[in-house]
Symmetry: C2
Subunit: 210 residues, 2 copies
């Protein structure tokens, strides 16, 4: 078999629901040639780890919770995607129920980190703007898939919180009564019997996924 010199990397699209709707976690690059640009957290894949394991390693470096699932998104392999040399990137999703799960952590390569609304991204390094564009399209189709919505919510959640996730992912406003009707039918969504109290309005029932 021939040998090639292509670097294999993984990049992770870490998403959570925030004030600006769907938000993505980015880090700011300190050094040339992408100084000042923002990037998805990533790493070079090691000989001894699978692609999935490399993605999990990147996530676990950034996130306190060990049980974050990653899901492969797409592989990007344009010849000029990184001006420093030929590489391919296998991109992964990681969905967080809470932005605060991210550990503050910077190093010699990254000067800053933060969350950005997917509609108001800063200047991106490499082909990471393309990766995010692809991620947004895929995410819309993933709405119905098992687990996508649940990973973006805490264990117990109100119907309004659930509805908001659906609205953000689909990009459409949903009628509350129709939405309630569907959750009533859905076996996966269970009433915990508890209420979310302490807000300046009527307490809401808390639900969970089965």
């Amino acid at each position: 078999m021939m040998v090639n010199k292509i670097i294999v990397a993984v990049d992770t699209v870490i998403l959570a629901i925030g004030d600006k709707g769907m938000e993505v976690f980015l880090i700011k690059i300190k050094n040339e040639p992408y100084e000042g640009c923002w990037a998805l957290p990533g790493a070079v894949v090691q000989d001894t780890e699978s692609l999935d394991d490399a993605a999990k390693r990147v996530i676990q470096q950034r996130v306190g919770d060990k049980r974050i699932h990653v899901k492969q998104l797409y592989s990007f392999g344009e010849v000029d995607r990184d001006v420093r040399g030929r590489s391919i990137s296998v991109a992964y999703f990681a969905l967080l129920s809470d932005k605060k799960l991210i550990k503050p952590m910077l190093n010699e390569q990254y000067s800053e980190m933060g969350w950005y609304g997917v509609d108001s991204l800063p200047k991106m390094a490499f082909d990471h703007a393309d990766i995010l564009k692809t991620a947004r399209i895929k995410l819309t189709f993933m709405l119905d898939e098992v687990g996508v919505v649940s990973k973006l919510l805490p264990k117990k959640f109100t119907l309004s919180e659930l509805q908001k996730v659906h609205e953000i992912l689909s990009g459409k406003k949903i009628d509350k009564r129709n939405f309630v009707k569907k959750t009533k039918i859905d076996d996966e969504i269970v009433d915990t019997g508890e209420m979310k109290k302490g807000e300046a309005f009527r307490p809401a029932k808390l639900f969970r996924f089965r």
Copy 2:
């Protein structure tokens, strides 16, 4: 950036409708350690070509028609996927309207080639059985996507041929009258005015995609 020794390959899942339903084009490996096993056509990605270009190169080597589209399926990167050494494979789909588009072509590495029903695969090399399993699952979801069905049909086709593709991809039997009703509504499917003659039964109207 670190250097790794991971080989980047592309493998292509070439599919067409045949007597056995969905069929996949495979080649038989001549040499150890996978002697006698069957594999998806593939190649090592070169420094100077993108992943998509590498997949197109593999397809064009095998298929007479230049205009076959490829679509990325998934990337496979288990550490032990190839006993000869560490590699990752970016798998692609290619959908053919006719099995006969394949050019007969063997070389020093491959002793045989042929089509297999996706339900009756021979002994597969590498992780290619996994790749095909993933391909089958994805294909079901791709039914509604633009172009998937059309690429598996000739330019002009009868409603029965169209229905058969839907049935094979979805794995479900469809009622003929209900199916006709839906195609009547679908703007993409146009009556050519021509008929498919010369068969031992009533001639059928020929349709095309817009």
